[in-house]
């Protein structure tokens, strides 16, 4: 447990009172500047002589961000006017608001009461009376009960006046409350980071060029029904889904059955597919990515929930535990299904015994972790070169079910591998000779209407893992 009051500059009563005078001066000034508006003065109630430090300031600003979101959702017009966040007397901020005092006080009171740690906030609502006196509106005036004590629940004023609780007892309680909020703030930042990197990966993949058998900004002949804009629309449609996957992973506890986590995200995935199809008018752009990226966002969230270190083994184990019964259950079902309802991967399992993306996923994405990710991390050059090099390596080690489906024969794998090996032998993406081979391969794919759709999904997850690994490494160096 943290002690919030370990650091900071001790404040005496004159310092606190002088700050209070300054606050009232600022509030009066704001109201004379905006006489028909309401002023909100935001501060914290911190017991004892330490009133500020970096943790307190962080808590204050993060929570006020939530408060601003609440004002936005409530339809309130407001702007931040002045603040002193790092003052030793405690962080403070002032808002000017276009709304009735009663409505503002309702919102501030509901905010203060919405989480136990928000009880530490003191949001004063001030307005000018008809005779131009500054006045505040109280909780009781709008039908709420007065503030209660953090420790015993009696009216806060009684405990404050009688000093019923010691400063140490109050500080311990405040530390506990702030710590619980910091965990949530930290998780929100992790979710945001994971969603950002997942969206970067989706949009980077389609932007990389040239890609044989895939849509890129220049060429899309293998997929004439799609273009890059459709892929960008489709990527953005997955934001909510990716956010839910990240949360599901962070909420995974040591005794959680990982299969339940997968069952959870699978339901999110069904909605995500519907969102994707509605953003593309029914074209399948990212169905495979919905599955694989969702699983890996969840697995990385499980990895970093208590730890900032990117750990490939932990991620792979999490994937395997989530998908433990996937291949077994899904493939035992497909033998009894009507063949017209089966996916390309499922039909190929019946025909060739290839387990496709389900097998790769259930094994913890070995091709991604063995080839895609290390190559993406180690390749020198710009982002396009890193992505294309990773893509061609992934393609070399994947029996892409989309490719087999389009070719109608397994023999296509051998041809694909031969051409990719020629690309690397010529020097890869960073050489003219390599580029020439790559362009030729792209033309051959387009002419033969071949696709690397399955490999593209693996590139998306590779890029997601690589970008996240870089983000976490950079964060640790701070």
């Amino acid at each position: 447990m943290i002690n919030l009051f370990d650091t900071g500059v001790t404040q005496d009563i004159p310092a606190v009172l002088a700050n209070r005078d300054k606050r009232v001066f600022v509030q009066n000034k704001l109201l004379s500047q905006y006489p028909s508006e309401i002023v909100i003065g935001a501060k914290l109630n911190t017991p004892g002589p330490i009133k500020n430090n970096s943790i307190i300031e962080d808590f204050f600003t993060k929570q006020l961000e939530e408060f601003e979101n609440l004002l936005l959702e409530e339809g309130v017009v407001f702007f931040k006017n002045s603040e002193w966040l790092d003052a030793a007397t405690g962080p403070e901020r002032f808002y000017v608001v276009e709304e009735t005092a009663e409505n503002v006080k309702k919102i501030t009171t509901e905010f203060e009461e919405s989480k136990n740690y928000r009880l530490l906030f003191d949001l004063d609502v001030l307005f000018l009376t008809d005779d131009e006196e500054m006045q505040s509106i109280s909780r009781t005036e709008i039908g709420y009960s007065a503030r209660t004590c953090l420790i015993c629940g009696r009216p806060a004023k009684d405990c404050g006046r009688s000093r019923r609780h010691s400063v140490e007892e109050l500080q311990a309680k405040v530390s506990e409350l702030v710590e619980s909020s910091l965990k949530l703030t930290d998780n929100k930042q992790k979710v945001q980071m994971l969603v950002n990197n997942a969206l970067r990966a989706l949009t980077y993949e389609v932007t990389a060029w040239p890609k044989p058998g895939l849509v890129d900004p220049v060429e899309r002949e293998a997929h004439p029904d799609m273009d890059i804009f459709m892929f960008l629309d489709s990527s953005l449609s997955l934001q909510n889904y990716l956010r839910k996957c990240a949360w599901a992973g962070l909420n995974c506890q040591t005794n959680t059955d990982y299969r339940d986590i997968f069952r959870e995200i699978r339901e999110f995935g069904k909605l995500a597919e519907a969102d994707m199809f509605s953003s593309t008018n029914g074209i399948n752009t990212h169905k495979g990515a919905v599955f694989s990226l969702g699983v890996l966002v969840t697995a990385v969230a499980i990895n970093i929930k208590d730890d900032e270190q990117f750990d490939e083994e932990v991620i792979q184990v999490a994937v395997k535990k989530m998908l433990r019964e996937l291949v077994k259950n899904d493939y035992s079902k497909i033998k009894s299904e009507d063949e017209s309802k089966l996916t390309a991967g499922e039909k190929q399992f019946l025909k060739y015994g290839t387990k496709g993306i389900r097998g790769e996923a259930a094994d913890g994405y070995p091709v991604v972790f063995k080839y895609g990710l290390p190559i993406f991390m180690e390749t020198n050059g710009n982002m396009n070169q890193r992505l294309i090099t990773a893509l061609m390596n992934l393609a070399l080690h994947t029996e892409d079910s989309t490719l087999i489906k389009r070719a109608g024969t397994l023999d296509i794998i051998e041809w694909k591998n031969q051409r990719i090996n020629e690309f690397f032998a010529a020097g890869g993406i960073s050489t003219d000779a390599g580029n020439k081979v790559l362009n030729d391969i792209q033309t051959e794919f387009s002419d033969r209407h071949l696709s690397l759709g399955g490999t593209a999904d693996l590139l998306i997850v590779t890029a997601f893992l690589g970008l996240t690994k870089e983000a976490l490494n950079n964060g640790n160096n701070d």
Binding site: L17, R23, S136, K157
Partner: protein, 96 residues
């Protein structure tokens, strides 16, 4: 001893007390407090004692209390006394 000029200290914020001193005879305190029933006498005593230490025995005191602790009542009374006597703006901690 009376005072030289009318003076004010403190704010109407919660946990504060706003005190106005004006001319009068004897210490005459008009207290407005939400905790008056419980702490009214204590607040008046702190104000009277503090004024006495500055030698003020004649003044009309208007005090609007918003749940101030004794130390705040004392600090605000010191500030208002010094302003009313035309001495320093800063609380004179040596007096107490």
């Amino acid at each position: 001893m009376g005072i030289k000029e009318t003076a004010l200290a403190g704010t109407l914020e919660s946990s504060d007390i706003q005190i106005t001193l004006s001319e009068g005879s004897g210490i005459d305190i008009d207290l407005d407090s939400s905790v008056e029933a419980l702490y009214g006498d204590q607040i008046k005593k702190v104000i009277t004692d503090t004024l006495n230490k500055y030698g003020i025995t004649d003044a009309k005191v208007k005090a609007v209390d918003k749940g101030a602790l004794d130390c705040v009542v004392k600090a605000r009374t010191m500030a208002v006394a010094q302003r009313a006597l035309g001495t320093t703006e800063e609380p004179n901690w040596e007096v107490l």
